[in-house]
Symmetry: C2
Subunit: 108 residues, 2 copies
């Protein structure tokens, strides 16, 4: 088993005003990552062997954002709000069943 | 296969002066991550299906730092300089053979 059972990376990149590509931070990703971090802590799921929710720089899937990726399984998600993130926590991270409606497409 | 063949996350966290735990950024991790990013680009290894080197917030293995993790395989490394990172690129990312001398211990 890896150091973390699930390791989440939220893109929290903010491009300068007027940039051509959208920024995940425009969709409130820093705050929503903080929501997940706190929720995992409240549920007692953090620490080595548990689940960690990290910030990350641009994950280069900007047009599909806001994006996060869950490793080691390599499942990519988009999300809108706390409800979406609660569903990822409960179904995927706790229940082991990825949330298909929020998953990004695999490369073809 | 996942969206990236290898996805690297470098802790680039900088704590305030006087913090009790060390910071990976004190070991020049933002610059060294930039070195790997550029090296991968020069080698033509970036993009979907390729290799990406991201910045990340604190990965919570501060005492073992500076740290980076390679997913989906979940191999954790420490490193000192460009030579160490070149070895990770050539042996692990290109050659498929992780660099044991730089790997962090697995949890017991």
């Amino acid at each position: 088993m890896g150091y973390y059972r699930h390791h989440l990376f939220f893109c929290t990149n903010q491009r300068p005003d007027g940039a051509e590509r959208p920024s995940c931070a425009q969709c409130d990703s820093p705050r929503l990552r903080g929501y997940v971090k706190k929720r995992l802590k409240d549920l007692g799921l953090t620490g080595a062997g548990g689940i960690r929710a990290n910030t990350a720089g641009c994950l280069d899937r900007c047009e599909e954002g806001p994006v996060l990726v869950v490793y080691p399984e390599g499942v990519w998600y988009t999300y809108v709000d706390e409800d979406d993130l609660d569903e990822i926590i409960e179904s995927h991270l706790i229940g082991g069943k990825p949330v298909e409606r929020l998953m990004l497409p695999e490369p073809v």
